[in-house]
Amino acid sequence: MSTSSGGWYAILTVTIPIAGAIVIALLGEKQGRARLAVGIAAAVGPVLLVVQMLRLLGDGRPVTITAWQVGPILTLRFSADRLGLLFAAVASTLWVATTIYSHGYLAGGPNVRRFFSFLSLSLTATMGVALAGNLFTLYIFYELLSLVTYPLVIHDQTREAARSGRMYIIYSLCGAALVLLGIVGTMALRGSLEFRPGGLLAGVEPSGLVSLTAACYIAGFGVKAAVMPLHGWLPQAMVAPTPVSALLHAVAVVKSGVFGILRVLLFVFGKDLMAEAGIGAALSVVIAASVLLGSISALREDTLKRRLAYSTISQLGYITLGVTMLNAEAMAGGLVHLVNHAVMKIVLFFCAGIIITVTGRTKISQLDGIGRVMPRTMGCFALAALGMVGVPPVCGYVSKWYLLRGAVHAQQWPLVVVLVASSFLNAAYFFPIVIRAFLRPYREDVPGLEPGGHGAGHAAGGHGPVGHGMHGAPAHSPGREAPATMLWPVVLLALVTVALGIWSAPLGFIELLVKGL
Amino acid sequence: MTARLAANYPYVFAVVLFVIGVHTLLAHANLLKKIIGLNIAGTAVFLYFIAMGNVRGRLEPLVDPAHPHAEFVNPVPSALILTGIVVAVSVTAFALSLVLKLYRHYGTLDAEEIVRLRSILDEDH
């Protein structure tokens, strides 16, 4: 309850991006460089602050602060525990990369100022979700996240973008409403909204109301986490510019949903109540189905970004599964995957974005031989894809290993089968892309290659980002790589995926985290 | 039952009048008749008040030095209704002025006809 000395770090983490957004809004539409600088600063600031808060945490002085008393019970409260900082660190770091990448991706397009302003605000919302110290704060930032990401999703302002945006906002608002219902349920059960390690509701008898409350939370956060029956918006939202798909729909938004589920399960219900009320068991059935069905849907999808979206649906399931299995190894595996998946998936999306920008191709069937023209991009793509499947030394294998061990340990044999099967499915939908890109000959005359007129127009949107970053170069000239602002973040992040597979420091942190629960 | 109704005949009248008034207000299409209905309903309530204040066998509320202990009827309802009548008159006047305005616009006092005309006129715009 007390406010610690470093409380301002948490508040600054949330407010610096707001300041950044305001500055960006005040800058002119044409002042691209200044905008980039401000954008990066607004993302680097939180990274540094998160590092600082991690150090304080290491010293045994976790940051908590009651920022504002809205009314009785309704408090705006931040607390930077390990779980929150893990998510905050991942999101803010990737934000820096995305800001740079977006600058290249959108250069010269319309409404760039609006885009960067809201990108920065989305960071605020994500940091708020990560550092929220009670349910009310979590709800505020969860709701805010929907609103501030909406302009990013419909950035292109095409008819299709508007339709997808509508779907997105409807799903999001319904999800937030369910979360609110869960909060009211919590009020009925306990009359408090503060998170507690071990569970706010610990000691409450399992009842219909407990299950209902849990269902509301899981469905409410599950909408953003794209748990299978609630995933409809995610493939649709791929109409957004690729950085948005990468950041929001691989990292910030969907992970906020997953994070919300984790937060609520661990800090509101607590392990014991979860086990007693059978929440974990019921949830793992839904999630397992989501994992498998997501992968199967990905197999059938020809549009690259949409295939990646389905892959996200399936991979997010791993994280939640880790928690529902209720043992230390699986939980560590789930949390490691929170990090690993974020980095790998953002690389995959960034590569898809580069392909769209440089060649205008959005479909997998159009990618023959693309690896020969864009070796660096497709190299990174292949690396991340290997990681997704679980091939060492790219980081994906670590999380899968832990999860499998956890499942075996818990003697959940069906889940073991699901995890293995899903890995095979991952291979089945990622390897064909890589094989096609590197082993088939490059084809010039692919239909839908024309910039701006790509096929169903799924991924790229109407104004055609093609050529925007190209400084007048012919849009689809083969043999070119993307501009540096786009390529460098990808290459760096691809290296990070390998580093995460080899370097064990994050694992140590996560094991500490799990021990704390 | 009948005897009680007969004894309280002013109230019975008030209720009958009230129902007639409200029915006229709601069921008739003619705007003037609506206003008349409103007035009938209002009058019914006034009657109710007056009847309430009256006590049979008592005197009108004028203090007479010759009968210092005489019992009077309750004067308050009558006083209230005086105000009520004033209010009703002003409401009626206001309503009539609006009806006049509508008549100038549409050339009819029939509410249904006005609705029909309006939809035609709105389409023209």
Partner: protein, 526 residues
């Protein structure tokens, strides 16, 4: 005897006097009218603030009219609830009066303006009177003043639509008045008192003798006030009246008039008829059901509107449902939510109507389909509209959320969780009709750029006579950059900020309202 002792009377009489004087002022110099009206409302506002301070410090304040003691004379009584209501009425109408300074010419013909202001102030006086009076018949008289003032405000616009809407409003409102008068008659018949305090005291003993007459009386009063407050399905008059009226009138009607009737309804049910509270449970049940129907029905109707003011009017039907729901549930949190909603909705809806008015005045557009790109043309107005609309949807950190939150708690207290789901659903429905408007404001490029009426550079004439300070050159440079005249912009922005403040900093308001709710449902006999 302190001067504040007289404020319950002077706040009403002063405003009433202002109403009578405004035709004269208008006759002498029409340009003096708008500042005159602002002055009168401001005076009421100052008194309202003083009254609140007084009531907070010294408890409720009674005032015997003409020195006649109760129960013979007319008594005014300002408790915490009435003081709050008076403050809301005075504050919002001051802002609307300020708005009128620049707006009035747009929708009200010059010759009608002095009468418009007369009706405006008459309406305010009537509402203030309803809030402070402690006499049943006086309530009726004040209510009639309110009704006539409100209808006149609708009729002030010289259009056939307005005249028709006003007539329908007048007829139904008068019917409601007749019902209420009948109810007053019945309760007077069994208690012999018109003073509410004495009436309640009397009722405690006599209701057992005349239970049917007492309940019928309360039923009639409730029905009458519900009709006037447009409780679904008695709302038929509202959408047309609120949308055909000139915009400041719409704001008055939606923001305040509906609320004062709701307030009176709560007062009658919980304070005056408290002795029979136990036997009229079915009535409250009916109120709850109807408010549920209002919350959903009003929103569904709003969903299909293409005119922004009609949309706002139907939204009022839905939002009034929250007040009645809170009143019907009757638990401390629920009643508090009802009061919070009275305040919060007055602010939000006034802001929405006034900003819709700016859009109509500047660009001539009222159809939602023509709102494309308004965020760029009228940035401040659109921002204010957006804030108020998001508050309507019930997003956290805005005032609408706080009202909903306490309704949730009220639902929990009353152990009727179904209404929690209902309110959540209504929030989503609100989103369904407000978000498309906001979407058009910001995310659709205008097909044809809306024309801003009035020459922004040459507006100095309207802003003040040349020669005044600061010199016209500077004034023009500052003011020409504004999207609308300052008197219009200021209230809208202030109201939007109030939405935020009330949503972010609710502690004191909640504490105060909890006290108010306590006096309404749990306090001593009066």
């Amino acid at each position: 005897m302190r001067i504040t002792d007289h404020f319950p009377l002077t706040i009403v009489v002063g405003t009433l006097l202002g109403a009578y004087l405004s035709p004269i002022v208008g006759h002498v110099r029409r340009r003096w009218l708008p500042p005159f009206a602002v002055g009168v409302t401001l005076l009421a506002l100052i008194q309202a603030i003083q009254l609140n301070i007084r009531v907070r410090d010294c408890g409720e304040l009674t005032y015997q009219l003409g020195g006649w003691p109760a129960p013979w004379g007319i008594e005014l009584l300002v408790g915490p609830a009435a003081a709050l209501m008076v403050l809301v009425l005075a504050a919002i109408s001051t802002l609307i009066a300020v708005y009128c300074m620049a707006y009035i010419d747009h929708e009200v013909a010059p010759h009608a303006q002095s009468w418009y202001y007369a009706a405006f102030l008459l309406l305010l006086a009537g509402m203030l009177g309803m809030a402070v009076t402690n006499d049943l018949f006086n309530t009726f008289v004040m209510m009639e003043i309110t009704t006539i003032g409100a209808c006149a405000l609708v009729a002030a616009k010289d259009s056939r639509r307005a005249a028709e809407a006003a007539l329908r409003y007048l007829l139904l409102a008068s019917l409601a008045s007749t019902l209420i008068l009948l109810g007053i008659g019945m309760i007077y018949m069994i208690t012999g008192n018109l003073n509410l305090t004495y009436l309640t005291r009397e009722l405690e003993t006599v209701w057992r003798q005349y239970p049917r007459l007492a309940t019928t009386s309360l039923g009639l009063l409730t029905l009458g006030f519900a009709l006037k407050a447009a409780l679904f399905p008695l709302h038929v008059w509202l959408p047309e009246a609120h949308s055909a009226a000139p915009t400041p009138s719409s704001a008055m009607l939606s923001g305040l008039v509906v609320k004062i009737y709701a307030f009176s309804l709560i007062k009658m049910n919980y304070v005056v008829f408290r002795p029979i509270l136990g036997i009229v449970a079915p009535l409250r049940e009916l109120l709850i059901l109807l408010s549920a129907a209002a919350i959903i029905g009003g929103s569904l109707f709003a969903l299909v509107q293409d005119d922004i003011k009609r949309l706002l009017a139907y939204s009022t039907v839905a939002q009034v449902g929250y007040i009645f729901l809170g009143a019907g549930l009757g638990t401390p949190s629920a009643v508090m939510a009802a009061f919070f909603q009275i305040i919060s909705h007055s602010i939000m809806k006034t802001c929405l109507f006034l900003s819709a008015g700016i859009i109509a005045e500047r660009t001539g557009r009222r159809k939602i389909a023509l709102m494309d790109g308004m965020g760029r043309v009228l940035p401040l107005t659109s921002a204010a509209f957006t804030v108020a609309a998001l508050s309507m949807i019930g997003l956290p950190l805005l005032s609408g959320f706080i009202a909903k939150w306490h309704l949730f708690l009220g639902g929990l207290e009353a152990e009727r969780p179904v209404f929690i789901g209902l309110i959540l659903m209504s929030g989503l429905l609100n989103a369904a009709y407000y978000l498309p408007v906001i979407w058009r404001f910001y995310f659709v490029e205008p097909q044809v750029c809306p024309v801003i009426h009035g020459d922004p550079a040459g507006d100095a004439g309207a802003l003040g006579a040349p020669g005044s300070w600061p010199p016209p050159g500077i004034r023009r440079r500052i003011l020409s950059r504004l999207e609308a005249p300052l008197p219009m912009l200021l209230p809208v922005v202030a109201l939007a900020l109030a939405c935020i403040v009330l949503g972010v900093w609710t502690g004191p308001t909640i504490a105060h309202l909890a006290g108010v709710a306590q006096t309404i449902i749990g306090g001593p006999g009066r």
